[in-house]
Symmetry: C2
């Protein structure tokens, strides 16, 4: 009986292996042989600090990528600068195939989110990549980098800024091409590689680069590598991204900090004012109460609705993993929530807490607000709705520090500094090239891949559409629990390895 | 005509000078001669960091005070330690007068509030005392310390932690005694000096010292020097202080920071939860909505009400100076507000704002809350009311980090860490010794002195009552705009000089 059971298991596993293409197996074998070299190359890449504002280190990052390209035989390598040479350039390279009729551009970004290294866990540092034998949340510990004779466990994780967001994209794309060539394959497309250096700083100059280099950047499809795969671990294709814009909101109390005993509850407390103002923006059911906030939203097509319905629900798994039981909008699923425009508090601060706290009434209170947008929204319009909301709460709204005159005239004053932003974008799932892409990625895995009309996160996809009339589809590879944008960012090695197979399959698609 | 006007002015000024006692003038003349030496002594004192937790520097402060006492011929100088020798001791000294029937103890504290030196203005540092030619808020600039031939302008200010709160008390009291003796006066009282080293850390061990040294610390009156004079600049006597207790409130979201795009408005945002929770604690009219918050308040006596009615209103002046026009409780005067129990937000924090802000949903949000108490309130009862309020808002309240089990069972979780605290205290204005004190201080100034039933700030006065059955009256000397407890703390020299005259008069009272 037991023997028979084993036979069935073996049979099943053979069937499963066959479901993945031989091509994918070949890429995997190659990658396994190269693992130690790839790991070393990746860790040196992560060790270069990558804040967009850090010009010198961004130059080093760009040079490192140019070198990675050159080693792989990629041609016409160059830095694409916007108008100002101080802005991190995009790193460009290409492979032109004789008689190819179509061109795919692969996109990733090599800059990372701002870091607060004091918040990283003990032994970790944003720019000292560290290897752990699993996930920190599951009590993994720091381990030594493997020597060439040690097996690399795919559950190990590298911790460091950019490990998943989005140097992993650069690494997976370039290594997919390397594996393809090493195995003697001949793609049917021209490839172009475009690695941005300013994405986490808002891609403020991306449009300048696209405009300036428009002839070089013509293509049939931009494949964007950014963000995480589905929380179930399944591969995912994303046909759009939410737009994003920010508002930094500051409310004012006394001009100087006051003793909370001598003046408490007489002088206005900006922390309380901010708390009340933020509270006014959302109902207890998580609905944004800013007037007209959900207007302008373009509804999903039937095809998109069907795709959303087929998305496996990670909600319960995620709640257990993340340690909470109630959604911000009670009863709304994660998949539904991220198809809506939203308002998030990214951070909030007024004076100090904990040991640094003292008996004062703070002078100001600040909230960093994040507006996510869906197709139909215009980011400037959403910001304007928020301004109108703050005004409706009795605030005099300014964009600079209040003058004495303004303080003497207005009981409640708010400074609202608007960031640049960008709108959402969505590509139709029904385009032939989209169908081919779906099929290529499906060939790399036994699991049903997930198709999402929009990711929750944001990418400046509208810029590609606007300046190049380009079609974009996003192919994320990072583990969902990668702590993207926060402390302890990490990549699970298996996700990096899977990413290489995914991009190799795309490069060989019909 | 002009000449006649000048004569009238001169006459008026003579009348004014005469209204102050000859004794006060004598003290002033002495102090003027000593100004350079006193300034030097004070600046060296301020240069010693004085956080209660900084044991080594607190030892240096205590040694410095012992030396100041010894130079002035004060006797029986010693350090009074509580049970643990790691806690900063009180510095004690005494002057026993033959045939004296009464004893006054003078109290001040030499420790200061926590510092965040990054918040101090350019050129200033909490422990590098700096001289300015006026108030920073009025665009004063840093000037050199005067040499012995330069006149010292009484409008100059020293900036540094403890400059006003409360090393100024130590300095003024000891120098008053010095001036008395130098001018050959013979007080009718025994004097004792008691300088605490743990007041800003909550005076947690004061009661141990009072109990241990009870026989040494017997007296007819404790004169407490702490806090600012009235905002009009008039001298003030305060017959009580509010009590104080703290609660550190933390609310929880996901266990790890989440990307605000991928999870925004699905995962609960603790910054929003905290904003809503804090909002629920106060009405838009500044009334604390915590159930029973204003119960237990002991009403003022007729004498106290009369004193409150006579307090000059600084409200309009203060609002102009501080740059706001509406009170937290609209229409309530400052004098009225500080006779109520209150709830203040001292600080609030969730992730980061400004340049450090990133696109995340924070994991926690923290508020440091400050409860001020009036006679009748019990601090533990007030803290308990706040806990009940948080529970009434649907929170599961804990005192430690939530476990996975707790996270899986409760939709809203709040950690509330209660500080030790103390109750309010109030001495009757009608005691004969209180009347004599009022008269003594009135003799130093032409202005009508201000009598306040309670100061807004807190002092652990109940401890003196409880452990020594002592009578306390508070005599503040600092300028009201001293930035006590915050960055840029400062003392206006005229206030230090006036303080010396005040304490000299008290030492010679009937």
């Amino acid at each position: 009986m037991q023997k028979m059971f084993c036979w069935i298991l073996l049979l099943l596993s053979v069937v499963q292996t066959n479901a993945q293409s031989d091509f994918t197996n070949q890429i995997r074998t190659y990658r396994e042989k190269q693992s130690h070299v790839l790991l070393q190359e990746y860790v040196s890449f992560l060790a270069i600090p990558n804040l967009a504002a850090d010009t010198i280190n961004m130059q080093k990052n760009a040079a490192y990528i140019q070198n990675m390209m050159a080693k792989r035989g990629i041609q016409n390598i160059q830095l694409l600068f916007p108008t100002s040479p101080k802005i991190p350039p995009a790193v460009y390279g290409e492979v032109l195939v004789p008689n190819a009729t179509k061109t795919i551009i692969f996109y990733a970004h090599y800059d990372g989110q701002p870091v607060d290294s004091t918040k990283w866990s003990k032994g970790l540092h944003p720019f000292k990549p560290t290897l752990l034998n699993g996930s920190l949340e599951k009590n993994a510990t720091i381990i030594n980098w493997p020597n060439e004779f040690e097996q690399i466990n795919p559950e190990w994780r590298i911790y460091g800024r950019g490990a998943s967001d989005d140097k992993a994209g650069v690494m997976a794309i370039l290594t997919a091409y390397q594996a393809l060539i090493a195995n003697g394959h001949h793609p049917a497309f021209n490839f172009k590689f475009f690695f941005e250096g300013e994405e986490e700083a808002g891609s403020d100059h991306l449009h300048e680069i696209l405009e300036k280099y428009a002839p070089l950047l013509q293509s049939d499809l931009w494949v964007i590598c950014d963000g995480p795969v589905h929380q179930t671990g399944k591969k995912i294709l994303v046909f759009g991204a939410r737009g994003d814009a920010h508002v930094e909101l500051t409310v004012y109390g006394s001009k100087r900090p006051l003793h909370s005993g001598h003046y408490g509850n007489w002088a206005p407390n900006p922390a309380l004012l901010l708390a009340k103002l933020l509270s006014s923006m959302k109902s207890d059911e998580g609905k944004v109460l800013v007037k007209g906030f959900y207007d302008d939203v373009k509804p999903l097509t039937e095809r998109e609705k069907k795709a959303v319905a087929a998305i496996p629900s990670p909600d319960q798994q995620m709640k257990t993993e993340l340690g909470f039981i109630s959604e911000e909008m009670p009863g709304k699923s994660l998949a539904e929530s991220i198809l809506l425009p939203t308002l998030n508090i990214n951070g909030m601060q007024s004076a100090n807490v904990g040991k640094l706290s003292s008996n004062i009434i703070p002078t100001i209170a600040i909230a960093s607000l994040d507006l996510r947008l869906v197709p139909g929204n215009d980011y400037k319009k959403q910001q304007e709705k928020l301004i109108q909301h703050v005004k409706s709460q009795g605030y005099y709204v300014i964009t600079k520090e209040p003058t004495d005159q303004e303080r003497a005239e207005h009981p409640k004053i708010a400074k609202m500094v608007l960031s640049d932003g960008y709108n959402a974008q969505r590509t139709s799932m029904e385009l032939p090239i989209a169908q081919n892409l779906i099929q290529a990625i499906q060939s790399t895995t036994n699991d049903q891949i997930v198709l999402m009309p929009s990711m929750g996160g944001s990418l400046p996809l509208y810029v590609f559409e606007k300046y190049l009339k380009a079609t974009t589809i996003t192919v994320p590879i990072a583990n969902h629990d990668n702590n993207q944008h926060a402390e302890n960012e990490n990549i699970r090695l298996q996700n990096l390895w899977n990413g290489i197979e995914t991009f190799a399959a795309i490069m060989m698609m019909k």
